[in-house]
Subunit: 148 residues, 2 copies
Amino acid sequence: MIRLTKQTDYALVLMTLIAASEPSEVQSATELAERARLPLPMAGKILKLLGREGLLVSQRGAAGGYRLAQGASETTVADIIRAMEGPIALTDCSSDSGAVCSLEESCPTCSTLRRVNRAVNDALEAITLAEMAGAKHEAREALSEPIA
Amino acid sequence: MIRLTKQTDYALVLMTLIAASEPSEVQSATELAERARLPLPMAGKILKLLGREGLLVSQRGAAGGYRLAQGASETTVADIIRAMEGPIALTDCSSDSGAVCSLEESCPTCSTLRRVNRAVNDALEAITLAEMAGAKHEAREALSEPIA
DNA sequence: CCATAGGGCACCGATTCGGTCCCATTTCGT
DNA sequence: ACGAAATGGGACCGAATCGGTGCCCTATGG
Ligand code: FES
Ligand code: FES
């Protein structure tokens, strides 16, 4: 399926939330989970992973939490997806070893799918966390009346 | 995972094979399976699906087979993917009903992910079957020396 | 009338996904 | 010094999806 995992979806939401706050302050998993309307164990798992992958910096101990490892403009959607699900590749052979490949003489997908793959990659690479956080604020403004 | 199914991968190969032949002649599943180096049941299953989805026209009975339903230039990679795995949507809420959504107040992914989704969609929509078949021939030419 | 070829679908093992829980470790506050 | 608060790292399990095969039916050309 050409669909990202729910956990990746959650990761995007969480990253956006963190990016929308003061860059220097850490935010606890509990707090973030609440704001993202996610169960705490889930949010915790994802935040741990994002930390291990270097997208977040964690502060342990009481009053600990997470903050962005880089500026919001340096982190892209592609980064987050890669952190959660590994390298972005539409098919087995579009990036990995061509061992299982060779479905056809001079495999047609090799060239074309690689191009498609690159296009997708570029599209994901083009959106930064800063843009997402910005879009959120705009949306919140736009919705402030209808919701309230 | 942002990855298409193996069956979809196979479908792309099969479609490319069909597109590379005379548009009026039908080709049997057996023949295509052989050329794609796929087990016959698999190829059959995929071809049936592609036929049901309207991308291929089937000729039943002895000497039957498949041919393209439209010109190779009218069929895109996105069409094939949609035929195999349904609508192209990166997340649950980026196209379906927003029922399960609302992960956050004025959900941030709603706006941004939809944009990403569109970019991916466009990228897939941009590649036609004719291009794939063409690329295959070019690749075959380019590889004729190094392989032999 | 029979061999050939597609149509439809059920089925099964293997993998992945979604989510929870537990326990160890670190650190702040008292 | 001690305990509460928080992250770190996995193990774990039910559910869904994937990859692939097989069976039986229908259509059709010779
Ligand atoms: S052999 Fe599989 S993509 Fe080239
Ligand atoms: S609520 Fe999920 S994408 Fe908007």
